[in-house]
């Protein structure tokens, strides 16, 4: 996932300029996140959890 073509094309699709000098840093960060994501494998029941989502209590009314 952290190859440079993927990074270039994805940013291009978002209309975000690409800086070649930034490429190693983006690769490092993507690699860090992807490596860290492997920790989820230790929790096979993770899909039983509802994701925390922002439910603004100010928007909930009981009229």
């Amino acid at each position: 996932m952290d190859n440079t073509n993927f990074i270039r094309q994805s940013l291009y699709l978002h209309d975000i300029p690409v800086y070649e000098d930034d490429m190693p840093y983006i690769q490092f960060l993507l690699h860090t996140v992807n490596q860290a994501q492997m920790s989820l494998n230790e929790f096979p029941d993770l899909n039983n959890e509802n994701p925390i989502t922002i439910v603004d209590k100010g928007l909930i009314y009981d009229d």
Binding site: P17, I26, L29, S39, I52, D56
Partner: protein
């Protein structure tokens, strides 16, 4: 030897101000003079506001002279991290993009302190958009650690912690998205509190990552953290995350000690420590035991998901906030923050939601732990302040990789976390210890922090 006015805490200054032994003008002028003399070497402030500070101090002095004393923050000089909006005062968030931004309102957290009589010293240096952990800022220069100016302050509230350590302000307002109050507190030998999410309003702060942002107090003592929290906490209809909870007297339990308090040490926090930090933490555990705490080693397996959940959540939310600027003003970001934000753009909605599933599981893991212990403790971060390196972008990534596993959990769970000095390493640089409480248990957290502070963890008082 009498401690310099600039190093007295707010709780020490308050009775002197109330009894008119120290005047707000004298105190503020003394602090501003120190900023003029010392800050060129520290770079804690992006925008000092000497004229305004003097005006506010004169007003406070006049009020007190006429018998109108507002309370313990009246006449106390306060620095404000530059990601909090301040009406009529430039608010850069440490960025080039907002270099000329002058807000038309003041953030709630800051306004409450000023309404209590606090004096605005100025806007303090931060990592760009409060989104990094070193405070190496390509636009305003790095803040420098007062313990050794060749070393970083950490960030992103690095200017605030450095100002406290150097006597360039009595109190400071910071913010913490993935450790930004606690990392610089640890690296500068000062105290910082990241409260329960929603206890202090975030209205009027420039967002880093909405669901992980926490405004909080920074100070040179636990008592001062409690004083600040008393004024900063409270419901704010302008912040959708603001909590409806009763007000507490956060100083109420400070002197109760910690006999019988159950403190859990997760095995997770014993891994990957620099050797000096490890030694200091082991000594700290022994000290806490000698104070009567019941120390228990515990296991919270869910902590292993913190780095993923923290980075995926923060980069995703931050990139959403910055999305238009990334398209139109990409060249105006520092390389480290641009790369971080672009990583958020490249991550998927699936990853973000996986991170939120992990986050709920993490909260459950902590809830389970808090059934058996009152407080959880660990080193704030596994390192002390690193010396500046040539490649500051790589250094930011490296520091972040070391610190985030230790600091992200409390941002993800929203649980309160107090960082206190733990001691000095072999090079004379401070290390920090973090105490974590269950949601809204700030009173007990401050009680434990105060008991620890009374052991004088640095071995002396910062006063010169």
């Amino acid at each position: 030897m009498m401690t310099d006015l600039a190093f007295l805490t707010a709780s020490e200054l308050a009775p002197l101000i109330e009894s008119r032994q120290v005047s707000p003008v004298e105190l503020t002028t003394h602090t501003l003079n120190r900023i003029d003399q010392i800050d060129p070497a520290i770079n804690a402030y992006i925008t000092p506001v000497n004229e305004l500070a003097f005006k506010e101090a004169s007003k406070a002095e006049n009020e007190i002279m006429h018998g109108y004393y507002k309370g313990p923050l009246h006449g106390i000089p306060i620095g404000i991290k530059d990601n909090f909006e301040t009406k009529g005062i430039r608010t850069t968030a440490g960025s080039k993009i907002l270099a000329d931004y002058i807000p038309d309102k003041t953030s709630t957290a800051v306004k409450k302190l000023l309404d209590a009589g606090g004096i605005t010293l100025g806007k303090q240096n931060t990592h760009e958009f409060a989104a990094g952990t070193t405070n190496i800022n390509p636009f305003y220069g790095p803040s420098r650690n007062p313990w050794n100016t060749e070393h970083m302050t950490g960030g992103s509230s690095g200017g605030s912690a450095a100002a406290l350590a150097a006597g360039l302000g009595t109190l400071a307002v910071g913010s913490d998205t993935i450790g930004s109050i606690r990392i610089p507190s640890a690296m500068n030998g000062t105290y910082g509190l990241k409260p329960t999410h929603g206890l202090i309003s975030g209205f009027g702060s420039i967002p880093t990552a909405w669901s992980m942002d926490h405004p909080g107090p920074m100070a040179r003592s636990v008592t001062d953290l409690a004083l600040m929290l008393h004024y900063m906490a409270g419901y704010d209809p302008n912040d959708p995350a603001s909590l409806h909870v009763p007000a507490h007297n956060y100083t109420g339990n400070l002197n109760k000690g910690i006999v019988g308090i159950r403190i859990g040490i997760p095995t997770y926090y014993l891994e990957g420590l620099d050797s000096d930090v490890e030694v200091l933490f082991k000594q700290a555990i022994t000290t806490l035991q000698s104070l009567g705490a019941d120390i228990r080693e515990i296991d919270i397996p869910e902590l292993s998901m913190s780095t993923f959940s923290g980075l995926a959540t923060m980069s995703g939310e931050a990139s959403a906030f910055h999305y238009e600027w990334l398209k139109t003003r990409s060249e105006d970001y520092g390389a480290d923050i641009r790369a971080f934000l672009q990583t958020g753009v490249l991550s998927s909605a699936t990853q973000y939601l996986k991170a939120q599933q992990a986050r709920r599981k993490l909260v459950k893991g902590f809830d389970k732990a808090f059934a058996d212990v009152d407080i959880i403790a660990g080193p704030t971060i596994p390192i002390t302040a690193p010396a500046f390196q040539e490649n500051w972008v790589e250094q930011n990534l490296a520091v972040e990789s070391r610190c985030v596993p230790f600091t992200a959990p409390s941002n993800l769970t929203g649980m309160p976390n107090l960082s206190a000095p733990m001691g000095l390493n072999s090079k004379g640089l401070p290390a920090g210890m973090q105490f974590i409480g269950n949601h809204l248990c700030e009173k007990q957290l401050l009680q434990v922090g105060h008991a620890w502070e009374r052991c004088n963890p640095l071995g002396f008082r910062i006063n010169s």
